[in-house]
Symmetry: C2
Subunit: 164 residues, 2 copies
Protein backbone atom coordinates (compact mmCIF):
# COMPACT_ATOMS: atom_id res chain seq x y z
CA UNK A 1 0.00 0.00 0.00
CA UNK A 2 2.34 2.70 1.13
CA UNK A 3 5.07 2.53 -1.45
CA UNK A 4 8.36 3.19 0.18
CA UNK A 5 11.27 4.83 -1.45
CA UNK A 6 14.45 4.41 0.50
CA UNK A 7 16.51 7.43 -0.37
CA UNK A 8 19.59 8.12 1.61
CA UNK A 9 19.65 11.18 3.74
CA UNK A 10 21.69 14.14 2.74
CA UNK A 11 20.04 16.47 5.16
CA UNK A 12 21.03 16.85 8.78
CA UNK A 13 18.00 16.98 10.97
CA UNK A 14 15.79 14.80 8.85
CA UNK A 15 14.13 11.67 10.07
CA UNK A 16 16.32 8.86 8.77
CA UNK A 17 13.82 7.49 6.33
CA UNK A 18 11.96 8.85 3.41
CA UNK A 19 8.68 7.53 2.31
CA UNK A 20 6.41 7.93 -0.60
CA UNK A 21 2.72 7.29 -0.08
CA UNK A 22 1.06 6.19 -3.24
CA UNK A 23 -2.40 4.78 -3.86
CA UNK A 24 -4.68 6.60 -1.52
CA UNK A 25 -1.90 8.34 0.34
CA UNK A 26 -2.53 6.91 3.76
CA UNK A 27 -0.03 7.63 6.43
CA UNK A 28 -0.67 7.89 10.19
CA UNK A 29 -0.59 11.67 10.06
CA UNK A 30 -3.26 11.79 7.40
CA UNK A 31 -5.42 9.37 9.32
CA UNK A 32 -5.22 11.64 12.33
CA UNK A 33 -5.95 14.73 10.27
CA UNK A 34 -8.99 13.03 8.84
CA UNK A 35 -10.38 12.69 12.36
CA UNK A 36 -9.39 15.91 14.08
CA UNK A 37 -8.11 18.09 11.27
CA UNK A 38 -10.80 20.72 11.54
CA UNK A 39 -10.82 23.72 13.80
CA UNK A 40 -14.15 22.73 15.31
CA UNK A 41 -13.00 19.22 16.19
CA UNK A 42 -9.84 20.45 17.84
CA UNK A 43 -11.43 23.10 19.99
CA UNK A 44 -14.09 20.64 21.09
CA UNK A 45 -11.33 18.20 22.04
CA UNK A 46 -9.68 21.00 23.95
CA UNK A 47 -12.81 21.55 26.02
CA UNK A 48 -13.20 17.86 26.72
CA UNK A 49 -9.68 17.82 28.12
CA UNK A 50 -10.66 20.81 30.24
CA UNK A 51 -13.58 18.86 31.62
CA UNK A 52 -16.62 19.95 29.63
CA UNK A 53 -19.30 17.34 28.99
CA UNK A 54 -22.61 18.99 28.28
CA UNK A 55 -23.77 20.35 24.96
CA UNK A 56 -24.54 23.74 26.35
CA UNK A 57 -21.12 24.10 27.95
CA UNK A 58 -19.39 22.98 24.80
CA UNK A 59 -21.23 25.49 22.68
CA UNK A 60 -20.55 28.37 25.05
CA UNK A 61 -16.90 27.56 25.65
CA UNK A 62 -15.97 26.93 22.04
CA UNK A 63 -18.02 29.72 20.53
CA UNK A 64 -19.25 27.33 17.86
CA UNK A 65 -22.85 27.54 16.74
CA UNK A 66 -25.19 24.85 17.99
CA UNK A 67 -25.53 23.52 14.47
CA UNK A 68 -21.80 23.16 13.99
CA UNK A 69 -21.30 21.64 17.44
CA UNK A 70 -24.10 19.20 16.77
CA UNK A 71 -22.67 18.08 13.47
CA UNK A 72 -19.11 17.76 14.74
CA UNK A 73 -20.08 15.92 17.90
CA UNK A 74 -22.09 13.43 15.89
CA UNK A 75 -19.15 12.82 13.61
CA UNK A 76 -16.75 12.43 16.53
CA UNK A 77 -19.10 9.92 18.16
CA UNK A 78 -19.26 7.90 14.98
CA UNK A 79 -15.49 8.11 14.65
CA UNK A 80 -15.14 6.58 18.08
CA UNK A 81 -13.54 9.57 19.78
CA UNK A 82 -16.56 10.36 21.93
CA UNK A 83 -19.29 8.43 23.65
CA UNK A 84 -22.76 9.85 24.05
CA UNK A 85 -24.05 8.81 27.41
CA UNK A 86 -27.48 9.49 28.91
CA UNK A 87 -27.39 10.54 32.53
CA UNK A 88 -29.89 11.56 35.13
CA UNK A 89 -29.67 14.11 37.87
CA UNK A 90 -32.14 13.54 40.70
CA UNK A 91 -35.38 15.30 39.94
CA UNK A 92 -34.28 16.18 36.42
CA UNK A 93 -35.15 14.65 33.15
CA UNK A 94 -32.47 12.59 31.44
CA UNK A 95 -29.83 14.37 29.44
CA UNK A 96 -26.95 13.37 27.26
CA UNK A 97 -23.35 13.98 28.06
CA UNK A 98 -20.38 13.45 25.81
CA UNK A 99 -17.22 11.87 27.15
CA UNK A 100 -13.93 10.98 25.56
CA UNK A 101 -13.46 7.31 24.80
CA UNK A 102 -10.10 5.71 25.44
CA UNK A 103 -9.26 6.47 21.86
CA UNK A 104 -10.14 10.12 22.39
CA UNK A 105 -8.07 10.29 25.55
CA UNK A 106 -5.09 9.08 23.56
CA UNK A 107 -5.13 12.46 21.88
CA UNK A 108 -3.60 13.94 25.02
CA UNK A 109 -0.05 14.01 23.64
CA UNK A 110 -1.33 15.71 20.51
CA UNK A 111 -3.16 18.36 22.51
CA UNK A 112 -0.17 18.88 24.78
CA UNK A 113 2.11 19.33 21.77
CA UNK A 114 -0.28 21.79 20.13
CA UNK A 115 -0.46 23.81 23.35
CA UNK A 116 3.32 23.89 23.68
CA UNK A 117 3.81 24.99 20.11
CA UNK A 118 1.06 27.58 20.39
CA UNK A 119 2.71 28.97 23.50
CA UNK A 120 5.93 29.52 21.59
CA UNK A 121 4.02 31.48 18.99
CA UNK A 122 2.96 34.11 21.48
CA UNK A 123 5.62 34.33 24.13
CA UNK A 124 5.82 38.03 23.56
CA UNK A 125 2.11 38.49 23.94
CA UNK A 126 2.03 36.51 27.15
CA UNK A 127 -0.85 34.36 26.05
CA UNK A 128 -0.27 30.76 26.87
CA UNK A 129 -1.34 27.73 28.81
CA UNK A 130 1.20 26.41 31.28
CA UNK A 131 1.07 22.68 31.82
CA UNK A 132 2.66 21.28 34.96
CA UNK A 133 3.03 17.86 36.56
CA UNK A 134 1.13 18.15 39.82
CA UNK A 135 3.07 15.32 41.49
CA UNK A 136 6.37 17.12 41.29
CA UNK A 137 5.53 20.64 40.23
CA UNK A 138 7.79 20.56 37.19
CA UNK A 139 6.61 22.09 33.94
CA UNK A 140 5.75 19.88 31.02
CA UNK A 141 8.27 20.25 28.27
CA UNK A 142 7.78 20.34 24.54
CA UNK A 143 10.07 17.40 23.89
CA UNK A 144 9.90 13.88 22.56
CA UNK A 145 11.07 11.00 24.75
CA UNK A 146 12.00 7.40 24.13
CA UNK A 147 11.11 4.41 26.28
CA UNK A 148 14.48 4.72 28.06
CA UNK A 149 13.53 8.17 29.21
CA UNK A 150 15.92 10.10 27.00
CA UNK A 151 15.08 13.39 25.41
CA UNK A 152 15.07 12.66 21.69
CA UNK A 153 15.87 15.58 19.43
CA UNK A 154 14.92 15.38 15.80
CA UNK A 155 18.49 14.56 14.77
CA UNK A 156 18.52 11.37 16.82
CA UNK A 157 15.23 10.06 15.54
CA UNK A 158 14.88 7.24 13.07
CA UNK A 159 11.61 6.52 11.33
CA UNK A 160 10.65 3.45 9.42
CA UNK A 161 7.50 1.92 8.08
CA UNK A 162 6.08 -0.75 10.35
CA UNK A 163 4.11 -3.87 9.69
CA UNK A 164 5.30 -4.70 6.23
Amino acid sequence: MAEIHSDTIETAGALAQRSEWKDGGWCPIERTIDLVGTRSAMILIREFFFGARRFDDLVRRTGLTEAMASRRLAQMVSDGLLERRPYQEPGQRTRNEYVLTDLGRHLFPVVAALIQFGNSLAEDRGQGIELTHDQCGAPIEPAVHCAEGHDVPLEETVARLAGR
Copy 2:
Protein backbone atom coordinates in the same frame (compact mmCIF):
# COMPACT_ATOMS: atom_id res chain seq x y z
CA MET B 1 -8.19 38.97 26.50
CA ALA B 2 -8.88 35.35 27.20
CA GLU B 3 -11.59 35.58 29.80
CA ILE B 4 -11.01 32.88 32.34
CA HIS B 5 -13.64 31.11 34.28
CA SER B 6 -12.26 29.19 37.19
CA ASP B 7 -14.68 26.37 37.71
CA THR B 8 -13.72 23.60 40.03
CA ILE B 9 -13.18 20.21 38.57
CA GLU B 10 -15.71 17.50 39.10
CA THR B 11 -14.31 15.26 36.43
CA ALA B 12 -11.49 12.84 36.96
CA GLY B 13 -9.06 13.00 34.10
CA ALA B 14 -9.63 16.61 33.25
CA LEU B 15 -6.89 19.18 33.15
CA ALA B 16 -7.22 21.04 36.42
CA GLN B 17 -8.34 24.30 34.94
CA ARG B 18 -11.20 25.37 32.81
CA SER B 19 -11.04 28.34 30.59
CA GLU B 20 -13.38 30.33 28.50
CA TRP B 21 -11.97 32.16 25.52
CA LYS B 22 -13.94 35.23 24.71
CA ASP B 23 -13.18 38.08 22.33
CA GLY B 24 -11.55 36.51 19.35
CA GLY B 25 -11.18 33.12 20.96
CA TRP B 26 -7.43 32.90 20.95
CA CYS B 27 -5.83 30.04 22.73
CA PRO B 28 -2.52 28.35 21.87
CA ILE B 29 -4.27 25.45 20.19
CA GLU B 30 -6.19 27.72 17.88
CA ARG B 31 -3.05 29.65 17.02
CA THR B 32 -1.40 26.40 16.02
CA ILE B 33 -4.43 25.28 14.03
CA ASP B 34 -4.40 28.57 12.18
CA LEU B 35 -0.88 27.79 10.96
CA VAL B 36 -0.91 24.07 10.30
CA GLY B 37 -4.57 23.10 10.57
CA THR B 38 -4.99 22.08 6.96
CA ARG B 39 -4.28 18.73 5.44
CA SER B 40 -1.94 20.23 2.86
CA ALA B 41 0.15 22.05 5.46
CA MET B 42 0.53 18.99 7.62
CA ILE B 43 1.56 16.62 4.87
CA LEU B 44 4.08 19.16 3.60
CA ILE B 45 5.48 19.43 7.12
CA ARG B 46 5.66 15.66 7.20
CA GLU B 47 7.81 15.62 4.07
CA PHE B 48 10.09 18.33 5.40
CA PHE B 49 10.73 16.19 8.46
CA PHE B 50 11.48 13.32 6.12
CA GLY B 51 14.06 15.44 4.37
CA ALA B 52 12.36 16.82 1.27
CA ARG B 53 13.40 20.28 0.14
CA ARG B 54 12.64 20.75 -3.53
CA PHE B 55 9.33 21.74 -5.01
CA ASP B 56 9.24 18.81 -7.35
CA ASP B 57 9.88 16.32 -4.55
CA LEU B 58 7.28 17.91 -2.35
CA VAL B 59 4.65 17.74 -5.04
CA ARG B 60 5.37 14.12 -5.88
CA ARG B 61 5.61 12.90 -2.31
CA THR B 62 2.53 14.66 -1.01
CA GLY B 63 0.36 14.08 -4.04
CA LEU B 64 -0.77 17.70 -3.88
CA THR B 65 -1.23 19.60 -7.09
CA GLU B 66 1.46 22.09 -7.98
CA ALA B 67 -1.00 24.91 -7.50
CA MET B 68 -1.91 23.83 -4.02
CA ALA B 69 1.69 23.18 -3.05
CA SER B 70 2.65 26.59 -4.36
CA ARG B 71 -0.04 28.37 -2.40
CA ARG B 72 0.59 26.48 0.83
CA LEU B 73 4.36 26.87 0.65
CA ALA B 74 4.00 30.60 0.13
CA GLN B 75 1.73 30.86 3.12
CA MET B 76 4.06 28.79 5.27
CA VAL B 77 6.99 30.98 4.29
CA SER B 78 5.08 34.09 5.22
CA ASP B 79 4.02 32.46 8.48
CA GLY B 80 7.67 31.91 9.31
CA LEU B 81 7.59 28.11 9.27
CA LEU B 82 9.70 27.82 6.14
CA GLU B 83 12.53 29.68 4.54
CA ARG B 84 12.90 29.90 0.79
CA ARG B 85 16.54 29.68 -0.04
CA PRO B 86 18.15 29.94 -3.45
CA TYR B 87 20.89 27.42 -4.07
CA GLN B 88 23.19 26.52 -6.90
CA GLU B 89 24.47 23.19 -8.03
CA PRO B 90 27.63 23.38 -10.12
CA GLY B 91 26.73 23.76 -13.76
CA GLN B 92 23.05 24.22 -12.98
CA ARG B 93 20.97 27.31 -12.85
CA THR B 94 19.90 28.54 -9.44
CA ARG B 95 16.90 26.93 -7.83
CA ASN B 96 14.93 27.47 -4.68
CA GLU B 97 14.76 25.07 -1.83
CA TYR B 98 12.47 25.25 1.15
CA VAL B 99 13.77 24.49 4.60
CA LEU B 100 12.16 24.51 8.00
CA THR B 101 12.99 27.49 10.15
CA ASP B 102 13.64 27.00 13.85
CA LEU B 103 9.98 27.70 14.38
CA GLY B 104 9.04 25.02 11.91
CA ARG B 105 11.38 22.54 13.51
CA HIS B 106 9.61 23.13 16.80
CA LEU B 107 6.68 21.29 15.27
CA PHE B 108 8.54 18.03 15.79
CA PRO B 109 6.65 17.09 18.96
CA VAL B 110 3.37 17.78 17.18
CA VAL B 111 4.33 15.60 14.24
CA ALA B 112 5.56 12.85 16.54
CA ALA B 113 2.29 12.92 18.48
CA LEU B 114 0.23 12.80 15.29
CA ILE B 115 2.22 9.82 14.05
CA GLN B 116 1.80 7.97 17.34
CA PHE B 117 -1.92 8.58 17.42
CA GLY B 118 -2.30 7.64 13.78
CA ASN B 119 -0.45 4.41 14.45
CA SER B 120 -2.97 3.48 17.11
CA LEU B 121 -5.76 4.01 14.62
CA ALA B 122 -4.48 1.27 12.35
CA GLU B 123 -2.72 -1.28 14.47
CA ASP B 124 -4.85 -3.96 12.93
CA ARG B 125 -4.04 -2.89 9.42
CA GLY B 126 -0.33 -2.81 10.16
CA GLN B 127 0.13 0.61 8.68
CA GLY B 128 2.31 2.74 10.85
CA ILE B 129 5.53 4.65 11.20
CA GLU B 130 7.82 3.42 13.96
CA LEU B 131 9.95 6.11 15.54
CA THR B 132 13.04 5.05 17.46
CA HIS B 133 15.86 6.79 19.29
CA ASP B 134 18.96 5.88 17.33
CA GLN B 135 21.32 6.48 20.27
CA CYS B 136 19.77 3.75 22.38
CA GLY B 137 17.45 1.88 20.06
CA ALA B 138 14.40 2.38 22.23
CA PRO B 139 11.07 3.20 20.62
CA ILE B 140 9.59 6.66 21.02
CA GLU B 141 6.54 6.53 23.20
CA PRO B 142 3.29 8.42 22.89
CA ALA B 143 3.59 10.02 26.32
CA VAL B 144 3.95 13.44 27.86
CA HIS B 145 6.90 14.15 30.11
CA CYS B 146 7.75 16.82 32.65
CA ALA B 147 11.08 18.53 33.15
CA GLU B 148 11.93 16.03 35.91
CA GLY B 149 11.63 13.22 33.40
CA HIS B 150 8.42 11.72 34.73
CA ASP B 151 5.75 10.27 32.55
CA VAL B 152 2.79 12.56 33.03
CA PRO B 153 -0.63 11.00 32.49
CA LEU B 154 -3.60 13.24 31.91
CA GLU B 155 -4.79 12.83 35.50
CA GLU B 156 -1.62 14.33 36.92
CA THR B 157 -1.59 17.35 34.66
CA VAL B 158 -2.49 20.83 35.78
CA ALA B 159 -3.12 23.61 33.31
CA ARG B 160 -3.31 27.28 33.97
CA LEU B 161 -3.27 30.46 31.96
CA ALA B 162 0.14 32.06 31.84
CA GLY B 163 1.25 35.64 31.58
CA ARG B 164 -1.68 37.36 33.17
